[in-house]
């Protein structure tokens, strides 16, 4: 993975000093609350419901074992012994003390980590395919580009006070694993007819109150122009994006207002002034950064492994885990493993200090000292020898990290919700817990098959409910928690936004509603049809009818 040189380190150290000074001036009363707010946000520090929340950046989800140990250390030393993985490959601490956050940042900087621009109206943490460099369907490794763009975005003086937050993701494979179309800019690595590498550029996606899927603004951009073109897009947005209403301030609203063609004209005119200019990426710079992502020293392994086949055949639990949580790898004899953070009874995405240490240990032992975060709030070990999978599975099981539920209903994406977040309208964790308990039987889950269930505690949609096959959204009605249910959303190449099935539900009803949706599917499905396929084939009507017919008598009216 990327290793800092003296320039990276100096910039980060200067950031630590800057933020320490700002915190001191805030505590001394020299900086007002309003003046301090964007400064602390751009360093990842929120003021939350119970305590400050500190959001740490994990660029494109890559973590070295020493960084995992540092996160565990922070959880133990400055927090209550755990932290939370988000859908944006950030790590959140929920109980730090305000005045100790600069110390936490300094600790992070000692292992080449930070909380740069994890909040605020600036360019946020950049995400990429979690299986970059190992996926069989990869066009090219996105990580060198993601790192080059990260550097360009970091402390970028022109784009720190945009109309609203700005998120960029890279897709690099045939199967889109990053929800590319819900990003402000989506960069899709492609080759043109001449075989040259570049990007298909998408713009104007986003979830939130007005979910919109990004549209193509350019079918092919040479990789060398990645910075100049992104700069042109963001400059047009910075100049003309709305600033009068925070709900209308994302770039998606500007793109919709102008129309993608008029927006493209603005961008192309701006780009003409900087295209091929000094920010053009040189082959030398790409080679320098790419060297950091060279494949690890794999050993030569046979394509066939009879001993492994015997392990699979001889242990049903292992075989189930292998089917759900292990992915094929480019290198013969290797596999990628997803460690599930979705064990029933634990908050989705939460990791204890002990688990941080244990994951670091597993990474060191089985995967060249590296781990990767997934936007589904799990952790992957990307480079595991097949002949060590059984051993790894046993170790992961001891640690509660081997629940074989990847892609299944209990692999819930869930934001921290009203239990922690000041923005939330409703709690999301108890809903996730209800659903995990109701569907705890793994045979039942496997029978239901692939199903993405996503929960957000408010319109900001951190839990990606719009793209869940089943989505649950917490809403506030007269200071009561209610939940809107959507079906038909999906991520991946054919990303679709779910549709609300009707009036919202009380918290205790949600799990029954989910079960009714599932039962409807089980009765109506064709062979080999996933829940989402049945919804797309039949529409939402049969699901709605079932849910509301069974609920009519006790429903309160007017909770739409």
């Amino acid at each position: 993975m990327y290793q800092y040189d003296e320039y990276d380190q100096q910039l980060l150290d200067e950031r630590v000093a800057q933020f320490r000074g700002q915190m001191q001036r805030f505590l001394a009363g020299e900086l007002s609350e309003d003046e301090f707010r964007p400064l602390r946000l751009q360093n990842g520090l929120y003021i939350q419901r119970h305590a400050p929340m500190y959001r740490v950046s994990v660029p494109y989800g890559h973590l070295a074992s020493r960084q995992l140990r540092k996160l565990g250390h922070l959880a133990r030393t400055y927090d209550r012994g755990y932290a939370h993985f988000t859908t944006r490959t950030n790590v959140q601490f929920n109980w730090p003390k305000l005045e100790t956050v600069p110390d936490m940042l300094a600790e992070l900087a000692s292992v080449q980590m930070h909380s740069n621009q994890t909040s605020g109206n600036c360019i946020r943490n950049i995400t990429a395919d979690p299986f970059a460099g190992v996926a069989a369907d990869e066009v090219a490794d996105p990580r060198p580009f993601a790192e080059i763009l990260r550097q360009w975005a970091t402390y970028n003086p022109e784009f720190a006070y945009l109309p609203r937050k700005f998120k960029v993701a890279f897709n690099s494979s045939t199967e889109n694993r990053v929800v590319l179309r819900v990003y402000d800019i989506g960069l899709d690595l492609v080759r043109n007819e001449a075989g040259e590498l570049g990007f298909r550029v998408l713009v104007g996606g986003g979830l939130g109150r007005t979910p919109i899927l990004a549209e193509e603004i350019r079918s092919f951009l040479p990789w060398s122009q990645m910075i100049t073109y992104c700069e042109a897009i963001i400059r047009v947005y910075n100049r003309w994006g709305r600033r009068d209403n925070a709900w209308k301030a994302r770039i998606k609203i500007l793109v919709k207002a102008l129309g993608v063609d008029a927006f493209r004209e603005e961008v192309e005119a701006e780009w003409a002034l900087s295209k091929d200019g000094p920010s053009t990426i040189t082959a030398a710079e790409l080679a320098r950064v790419s060297a950091h992502f060279a494949p690890p020293p794999y050993v030569e392994l046979p394509a066939e492994d009879p001993a492994f086949e015997r392990q699979l055949a001889g242990n049903k639990a292992f075989a189930t885990w292998f089917k759900r949580n292990v992915r094929p790898h480019r290198q013969p004899g290797y596999a990628s493993v997803v460690l599930s953070l979705k064990k029933t009874g634990t908050a989705p995405g939460d990791v204890s200090a002990e688990q941080f240490d244990a994951i670091a240990e597993l990474a060191d032992q089985y995967s060249f000292g590296e781990a990767r975060m997934l936007h589904e709030q799990n952790v992957a070990l990307a480079d595991v020898r097949r002949d060590q999978l059984f051993e790894l599975w046993q170790a992961a099981r001891e640690l509660g990290l081997a629940t074989p539920n990847i892609g299944l209903i209990s692999n819930i994406i869930c934001c921290p919700g009203g239990d922690f977040c000041a923005l939330a309208n409703a709690r999301s964790l108890p809903i996730a817990d209800d659903i995990q308990r109701r569907f705890d039987d793994l045979d039942y889950q496997h029978d239901i098959g692939e199903l993405d269930l996503n929960i957000s505690g408010c319109m900001n949609s951190c839990g990606h409910h719009h793209v869940g096959h089943i989505g649950v959204l917490g809403v506030d009605k007269n200071n009561e928690e209610w939940y809107q249910v959507t079906i038909g959303g999906s991520q991946g190449n054919g990303t679709t936004l779910g549709k609300v099935i009707g009036p919202s539900f009380a918290a205790e009803e949600v799990v029954d509603v989910v079960e009714q949706l599932i039962n409807t599917y089980l009765e109506l499905r064709h062979a080999d049809e996933r829940f989402i396929d049945t919804v797309h084939r039949l529409g939402s009507e049969p699901f709605k009818q079932r849910v509301y017919a069974e609920r009519q008598p006790q429903r309160k009216p007017a909770h739409v």
Binding site: Y7, L11, E14, P157, Y161, R235, N238, R239, L273, R288
Partner: protein, 187 residues
Amino acid sequence: MCEHIDLIKNGRLLRETRALVVIAENEDPANIAVPAGPVLVPLAVWQARRPELLARARNGELGVWLAAGEDPDALGEDLASLQLIALDFPKFTDGRSYSAATRLRLHHGYRGELRAIGQVLRDQFNYLNRCGFDALQPPVGRYDHEQLQAAVASIVDFTLPYQRSVADPLPLFRRVERGALQAGELS
């Protein structure tokens, strides 16, 4: 009559006297009073009274200020005559003037004084400077002299930024020889 204003110009603390003309509601830019001596006038006044004000602009006595969201392209060929342009920050979180400054410097080649006015606070000095503002005018009374002197230091919060900007015509990867990987670092 105009009070002194504190100004940080090219990293040095100065005091100067310069009137700021603001168009009140119902006032006509064509008839508004433009005081003698150093002054900043709004874009609308400049556009309405250009022939009358041109000589004062050429000798630097008169500058033009643009509201956030006003397009510097509107100055057209006058950019060659103007010695002083100011860009307003109605709120310090309104970032439009960072892009306006960048465009003025990099696209239009403007070389005169570029002054940040309005909610200009020390925690933005570094970014303002890098976007081409060589003069920073914080709100009158916001900082005492001692605080301002300390604030001057924050102009160089980041000494070797990654990206190209007005202040750094080349991105870091073209400015310096960046470190190659040390042997063993990838293991």
